[in-house]
Symmetry: C2
Subunit: 448 residues, 2 copies
Amino acid sequence: MRHQEAGCFNDLPAHVWPRNAKREEDGSVSIAGVKLTDIAAEYGTPVMVVDEEDFRSRCRDMAQAYLEPKNVHYASKAFLTTRIARWVNEEGLSLDVASENELLIALAADFPAERITVHGNNKSESFLRTCVTRGVGHVVVDSHQELDTLNRIAGEEGVAQDVFIRVKPGVEAHTHEFIATSHEDQKFGLSLVSGSAFRAVQTAHNAENLKLTGLHCHVGSQVFDAEGFKLAASRVLGLYAKIYRELGLQLDYLDLGGGYGIAYTVDEQPLDVQAVAKDLLRAVEDAAGELGITPPTVIVEPGRAIAGPAAVTVYSVGTVKDVHVTDDATRRYIAVDGGMSDNIRTALYGAEYDARVVNRLTEGVPHATRLVGSHCESGDILINNALWPDDIAPGDLISLAATGAYCYSMASNYNCFGRPAVVSVKEGTVTPMVRRETVEDILARESL
Amino acid sequence: MRHQEAGCFNDLPAHVWPRNAKREEDGSVSIAGVKLTDIAAEYGTPVMVVDEEDFRSRCRDMAQAYLEPKNVHYASKAFLTTRIARWVNEEGLSLDVASENELLIALAADFPAERITVHGNNKSESFLRTCVTRGVGHVVVDSHQELDTLNRIAGEEGVAQDVFIRVKPGVEAHTHEFIATSHEDQKFGLSLVSGSAFRAVQTAHNAENLKLTGLHCHVGSQVFDAEGFKLAASRVLGLYAKIYRELGLQLDYLDLGGGYGIAYTVDEQPLDVQAVAKDLLRAVEDAAGELGITPPTVIVEPGRAIAGPAAVTVYSVGTVKDVHVTDDATRRYIAVDGGMSDNIRTALYGAEYDARVVNRLTEGVPHATRLVGSHCESGDILINNALWPDDIAPGDLISLAATGAYCYSMASNYNCFGRPAVVSVKEGTVTPMVRRETVEDILARESL
């Protein structure tokens, strides 16, 4: 259980909250100069508030760390709307998409197709054809079957499609250690060790309508140092050397995927982007030098590390209930007007969050508390264990920080809840991004 | 790992599949006389197919077991559309809702308000007012705070609102055993043991605008015998006796909640509804007799047990990939065109499913297989371990059975996937229920 002193509970840990979050003199919390109380009053709760400058500044940090904006591919699965795609484009980053609809949304936002890289373990014929005809930069091929299909489609459309091959590097993130394994029992990629990846490279190299320009690998999620990336890079670079030796082919890009860790709680420290990048780029250069190949351009795919800390979710407190957990201890259950429909991460991954009262300063003494949602399910928990001031009451506003990634993108209509409104804030101004979903929206697709 | 002989894989276990599912002579599978291949061709995949007569027959089975249709309250959270609400109404059942939108959808389907019971740990003022003004049958009150709010609102609206109190019976389902505990560390209900439930009864009894007519308790999910229900009933009936002795009040109803187990896999056996009901009703009668009170009418709240087995989800096979898991073993990864966006239960609860190829007979030899979705996440798994025939190929149709409950209702737009189409089938006819969600639907709520 995380102990939070009553006074500390009014702090907003800078490494967790959006860069422009601030506790105002009246005790309320603002983001980019806009009070969350005002947003709640105008847009209702739950509402997601995205700090535009925070999002953009993290794009720029990544761009600087990886030498050029276009080497940083924002992973849209974390959180994608057309406005998000526009911000990413304006910052000069590239974009990863992993479904036909993600691609179509990016294109609807006029994202340049040549800066889009396409992922997916099971891309349909229709999806691949859209990739080819719309001219996406790279398709990351995930199977031998896809190589054949994509080569055929590219041929039919008269295009030479740029591709990467997704390789299983045999490196797995195990909590905070990276394990080199020879086998990886998961759906993505082609095995280095078994030779499957090299066979795919040969196929791609020989395919009439494909142009192989790089390899892709991914080590995991919420990674906090360079070790896993370096280990994966060194293994995959071995394949670059073999490709150069045996096929005479020099690949331009090495896509090391995502997984850049962020701080969800005050105890965590986000990955140091500049230091990791420096360490990683030097390691790639050194390894390439030892192998006698030209170092490929390193590409990274942060999603969470850009979108995650940029947004908070604001809820209203409803029911407050003390529950006897032993004969002489109670736990306070604070229920808010959202829950597992707008944030499944606690239930799905055991995720932890930092939350604060944002409409006023709190003054109570620490009390064992659980933050729950309004769904008809006992597992509908947002924060499992906290020590929070005991003066939190119905009508207070509570915000969870770092909800920008994998919350809205995984939101459901469970219990027929409409999904929250989303707004962005910048320099004192609020701009609606997605309007709140209504029961009419939910009924609209029904055939009556 | 479940071993399925190649021949057996063509069977459709009757206790798992919809009652009108059938393997046709051409090797394909039909439901209610409609081939799933035809539905897939017309509506695309993934598509959810609901066997109307299966759903209705399970309503009737429950109604018969619990003496009158209105004693059975279908739990809408499992799966609710206006058509589902109409079926439930036509079968004479009552309806549980757990959110304002579930209530509004039921009312939009002309479900009689007096047969609606309202749940929720955190009902908003607006929700409670809608309950009162629309005249719902019962509000199941979950906190002292709610008693006060509801009494005030009922007074403002000039209504005497019928209520149940939700009680923590101190009975917990632990896998297949029921444990009597004195404390229950969860958000729902008021404790029997601490006296909190009795205090709420007194408050409700004395409240000017509330009429207390019953108590509610819930023991868990996927329960397979009467023991847990009987244990909970005997504990709660103790409170009925105390209420009778101390307040002279005879409560009409005992709502024992849901949790009726269904078979997801061939190895499981569904709860025997008739036998459990008989056992449970007799136990309630006996316990009431011993306590010297008139036995209350037993109410139950099945959701999964009615909707779950009535529907299947049909997917198309895309990528088939063999992955080396040890030096001499491979696992086949079969990827379909849906996944955790339309069925989060495997990832969220470790759920298991029965799946079959439905477009033809299979003839291959058993091979270790994992069924995965198309999402950009390695945890996007539908069936973790199976031994399936090795002749399943791209273009085949695979259906998961028993997906009627908590699949569509918890579906998301992860990776911007549109949610599947839903159709119902009856006597050879297909009727669209919910149309497939498009990228235009997803973009429609954006503020551009």
